[in-house]
């Protein structure tokens, strides 16, 4: 681990001013991802700004009938919130599919959104990786790992987002509310919070260095049933090979892109009367990559869409 300065933020303004003064700083919340990466020297912040004790953990109703989830609400708190469980069941299920109890007790909503890819070549500082060391090359492209992007990859990077939670948030049209040091507040769809790799895979999100996630806001749940499923090699405590979240006519795919992937082609097909399988196939028609993985996502998406329809309101 590289030596670093540690500062506990007194309030949001203090956190933002520290971040504005030091572009090499990182916000620390639960620490379940950042600290691991620092030990491996994949993240080497010169300063860690601890925002973990800021009063941003509240989950509250919004005037429009949605829910506002504070960025520091723990994953466990969100997944066990009765309002989340009754109105946004796929969010609770997606969160519970991630990590372990101990990790979810520490991990925050904001941190979950900001976690970095688990691509084994990104996690190994001895290997070329454009996301970790720009210009060094992509080891994954010709590599052995299984979980590569089917959508939105570039010649520079094929890594996928590891977040299960964000897949459900994307299907639910969640918005990330952020604030910068100059006081400006932004609200971005979770769906597009993360950048596609393009020419700069080292930049995960559009957030500025002095920009802090305050909350995630959910609109009222869409009409129709919800369903979630995650495919993985063992029953718990491992990343998705693929996941699917469906809320009414809204479909998001996980572990297939650098961001939670809203399956717009599938949604349009469904809206015009296509079957779940036809809808899934229309989405996968735009995918790049290995046929077996495409087949998995196609079958999974079709089945989860079907389940959401049959189990209305589940």
């Amino acid at each position: 681990m590289k030596p670093f300065a540690y500062e506990r933020a007194r309030d949001v303004d203090h956190a933002l001013s520290l971040a504005a003064a030091n572009p090499g700083a990182r916000f620390l919340a639960g620490g379940t991802n950042l600290l691991d990466l620092m030990k491996l020297e994949i993240e080497q912040p010169s300063q860690v700004i601890d925002v973990g004790r800021l009063p941003l953990a509240e989950i509250s109703e919004t005037p429009s009938g949605g829910l506002r989830i504070g960025a520091l609400a723990t994953n466990t708190a969100v997944a066990s919130d009765p309002r989340v469980r009754s109105r946004y069941p796929i969010l609770a299920r997606a969160i519970l599919a991630g990590g372990s109890v101990q990790l979810r007790n520490k991990a925050s909503v904001g941190g979950n959104l900001m976690q970095r890819t688990r691509c084994p070549y990104f996690m190994d500082s001895a290997k070329p990786c454009n996301k970790r060391l720009p210009g060094s090359g992509c080891s994954a492209m010709e590599g052995l790992a299984m979980t590569f992007a089917l959508f939105g990859a570039s010649e520079m990077c094929v890594a996928v987002s590891p977040s299960d939670m964000s897949v459900a948030l994307a299907a639910l049209d969640g918005l990330a509310e952020t604030v910068r040091a100059d006081g400006s507040v932004s609200r971005r769809p979770v769906e597009t919070l993360h950048r596609l790799p393009g020419e700069a895979p080292q930049v995960d999100t559009d957030l500025a260095p002095d920009e802090l996630i305050l909350a995630v806001e959910l609109p009222p749940p869409p009409e129709g049933g919800q369903a979630w499923r995650k495919v993985r090699a063992r029953a718990s405590y491992t990343g998705a090979i693929a996941s699917v979240a469906v809320a009414g006519g809204q479909v998001a795919l996980g572990a297939v892109a650098a961001r939670p992937w809203r399956a717009r082609a599938a949604e349009e097909a469904l809206a015009s009367g296509a079957s779940p399988f036809e809808a899934a196939a229309s989405e996968l028609a735009h995918a790049a990559g290995e046929e077996g993985r495409k087949a998995l996502v196609r079958r999974l998406a079709a089945d989860v869409i079907r389940e959401a329809r049959e189990g209305m309101g589940s």
């Binding site: 590289k2 084994p120 052995l144 495919v231 090699a233 063992r234 029953a235 998995l296």
Partner: protein, 754 residues
């Protein structure tokens, strides 16, 4: 020299009057471990404040270090020294021996500019904190001249040669017998490279006391570690004192020492301070041994009744170019099934990757994943139940050598297992049972693993406070050795467990071979038993010869031991009083065990049968274990709880082998794809929802005086095959390429149009 006839006489353990033998008592050291107070090697108290070492690993597979720059590391905060091959202190050449009885040769670290595998140590940093050492390590700059390397096992099969010093085992004429068989199976199975993934990494704390080095390290073999370090440092073995008291998992991977031991000792000598060195999690994967991949072609020929006529397993495996090792994946078959025409043998590919080595049940673990599935295929072809097929091939004597079995309850394991598992509810038609979107199926397989007894010694002291303390240069790698030795000693001397102490893991203690090959309990335990018997005779003689004793003048051979006393009729003498009068140190004896002169006249194995029920997700190809049950026969059981833990732990390893565990070599780098426990997937609790085992009543009076056998490796043998057979029964997909991950299962389902 003893014969097995001597062992058949009744003795305190086989009579088990106080019932300590077999009792499911808690672990002797359990409280220390669950409260985090058992000092593991990296945590032992040091005589003064320690320094911390960090090893820098190579990032190429094969070649030469052309330049190495440690200057930046040397001037980094807290750094005391930085070593490479250019300035590491002198060590003996690899494999050198100066001590005539050394079990291991020298194993020098940073010895040359040669790199022989990815992850090899190339530099070492000593600093005031582990963080500073590791941070400085990343400042070391190494330039390499890379050389062509053989890294891809399956691409190198053409280079396979005979295993050194071995010939194929041929009985009859396999080719003729096979081609004349009415029914045949011919398949090729692949078991991938696997890692031990111990919780505790390799670690050492070292300091010097004058010209003698004291090391606490995590190793399965006390003497092996002591000798390896002595030879490396060029010292007589008695100038190395090695402790290994608590070990967080070994599984074969700590059967040898690594550079943490050598470099901690060298750095402590150089700095004059105690030194701690631990491997990182990544180094545990990249720089210790692994179970090599094995490709196995299995051919079975049988008549229409299912009697095997021909059987062949031809295994190809790999090892490091300069470190011979053979994963004997075919050998178990020689003792399991009879066929007039047989062929078993191994071929070896030399690769430029880290050393292949022993991992829990070497040979059987990958080997049974092939033959036990081939038997399932044969049963299906014949329309026979898989258990019935095996019963029809149950041999009268060991097929390999014609020797009688000491005891073989394989058929009973299968029958009792079938009954308790509900095997009669299995639908033999694949794909016939559904539960929602899940295909559901059942499979079974047998288990066999050898039983061994090696020479061992122990010491035992009884003191005036009435305590008996057993001392042995033995290890407890998490299996329960402390506990069973306490039970044996207590039962032998008629003491309750609160009067028994066990001290292990010290090279100054009477030696035992350590933990490995499921020989530990039988070997160390038999030595403890024999030592207890020596103590009984000594104390009885003391009681008879001591005028102050109530038993003065009586015949010591008639005396019994119970409740802390020596008893004869209605008179008794307490052990405490006898030992107290014998002197301030009490009474100390040593004893030993050796294999019986005629032990090899019998075929000795442990046996079992696995039953598994799996679900296969018809949409995604995910396989989930629904329940698993096994019945095993492994001699007398010393501790029902610990033995079951060993057996079920082995079965869970089988679940991992069948479904998740594999570490491919990236042929561009020579490194393993996975180097942490988030990537290398061993089963977690959610994978093991319903798994149980029972051990049959058994005593093997040919094995050792207590009639016990090993349980540490039996559980993994065949376990994964039962799961693969269940996957076939569930969905009709025969996969011979382990592990059965969702991508492979789904591709096979798609190929069937499912």
């Amino acid at each position: 020299m003893s014969t097995v006839r001597d062992w058949a006489e009744p003795n305190p353990v086989t009579e088990n009057r106080t019932g300590l033998i077999g009792k499911p008592v808690d672990r002797y050291e359990g409280r220390l471990k669950v409260t985090g107070t058992a000092p593991y090697a990296y945590e032992v108290e040091t005589p003064s404040a320690p320094l911390y070492g960090h090893i820098v690993s190579s990032t190429i597979a094969r070649g030469r270090i052309t330049a190495i720059d440690t200057k930046a590391a040397e001037s980094a905060p807290g750094v005391v020294l930085a070593w490479s091959h250019l300035n590491v202190p002198e060590q003996a050449a690899r494999g050198a021996r100066i001590n005539p009885r050394s079990q291991r040769g020298a194993n020098p670290a940073l010895a040359s500019d040669r790199v022989e595998h990815y992850g090899q140590s190339v530099a070492f940093i000593l600093a005031d904190t582990p963080e500073n050492a590791r941070a400085a390590g990343s400042l070391v700059r190494v330039a390499y001249a890379e050389e062509p390397a053989d890294l891809d096992f399956l691409a190198s099969l053409a280079k396979a040669g005979p295993a050194p010093g071995e010939e194929d085992a041929r009985v009859g004429d396999f080719e003729a017998g096979y081609s004349a068989s009415e029914v045949t199976v011919d398949g090729t199975w692949f078991s991938p490279l696997q890692n031990h993934a111990q919780m505790e990494p390799c670690a050492t704390t070292a300091w010097w006391e004058g010209d003698k080095v004291v090391v606490h390290t995590s190793i399965q073999m006390v003497k092996g570690g002591q000798h390896a370090l002595a030879e490396t440092l060029g010292l007589p073995s008695d100038r190395v004192r090695l402790f290994t008291r608590y070990i967080g998992g070994g599984f074969g991977g700590k059967g040898q020492s690594y550079d943490d031991l050598t470099l901690a000792a060298l750095a402590s000598r150089a700095s004059g301070r105690p030194v701690r060195v631990a491997y990182t999690r990544q180094q545990m994967f990249q720089a210790t041994i692994h179970r090599p991949a094995v490709q196995m072609r299995v051919r079975l020929g049988a008549d229409r009744t299912g009697r095997l006529n021909a059987m062949a397993i031809e295994a190809v495996t790999h090892c490091a170019r300069n470190a011979p090792f053979v994963e004997h994946a075919a050998n178990f078959a020689r003792n399991l099934y009879a066929a007039p025409h047989r062929l078993t043998g191994h071929r070896l590919v030399r690769l430029d990757i880290p050393h292949a080595g022993a991992m829990r049940a070497p040979g059987e673990a990958p080997g049974m994943l092939s033959l036990e599935c081939a038997m399932d295929e044969l049963a299906e072809t014949l329309g026979l139940d898989p258990i019935e097929l095996r019963i029809r091939n149950e041999p009268e004597v060991d097929p390999d050598n014609g020797k009688p079995f000491s005891v073989r309850q394989l058929v009973r394991c299968m029958r009792e297992g079938a009954q308790q598992f509900g095997w009669d509810r299995r639908n033999p038609v694949p794909g016939a049972v559904r539960d929602g979107r899940w295909y559901v199926g059942m499979g079974m397989a047998t288990a066999i693993r050898g039983n061994f007894l090696l020479p061992a010694k122990a010491g035992l002291r009884v003191t005036g406070d009435g305590l008996a303390t057993l001392t042995q240069g033995m290890t407890d790698i998490g299996t329960g050795t402390y506990t069973i030795l306490a039970q044996i000693t207590g039962e032998t001397l008629g003491l309750t467990l609160d009067k028994v102490r066990v001290e292990l893991g010290d090279s100054d203690m009477p030696p035992a071979p350590g933990s490995g090959g499921q020989f530990g309990a039988a070997t160390a335990g038999s030595a403890a038993f024999e030592t207890g018997m020596v103590m009984r005779r000594r104390l009885a003689e003391l009681a008879a010869g001591d005028p102050a004793s109530p038993l003065y003048g009586e015949d010591p051979t008639l005396m019994d031991f119970a409740n802390g006393n020596i008893v004869l009729g209605n008179r008794s003498a307490s052990l405490a009083a006898l030992a107290g009068r014998a002197g301030p140190e009490g009474v100390y004896v040593e004893g030993s065990i050796s294999p019986a002169a005629d032990a090899r006249d019998w075929s000795q194995h442990t046996y079992g049968a696995h039953f598994a029920e799996v679900g296969v997700d018809s949409v995604t190809g995910e396989v989930r274990l629904r329940r698993m049950f096994g019945v095993f026969a492994a001699g007398r059981i010393l501790n029902a709880k610990l033995a079951k833990s060993q057996i079920t732990g082995g079965m869970i390893w089988g679940v991992g082998a069948a479904l998740t565990e594999a570490n491919p070599v990236d042929p561009r780098f020579g490194s393993f794809l996975h180097q942490d426990l988030g990537g290398y997937l061993a089963p977690v609790h959610a994978d093991i929802v319903n798994l149980d085992a029972v051990l049959l009543d058994e005593a093997d009076d040919k094995a050792n005086p207590m009639g016990i056998k090993g349980v540490g490796e039996l559980g993994i043998c065949g376990a994964g095959a039962a799961i693969a057979n269940a996957v076939y029964n569930a969905c009709g997909v025969r996969l011979r390429d382990y592990p059965l991950t969702p991508d492979k299962v789904l591709a096979a389902l798609e190929a069937k149009g499912l």
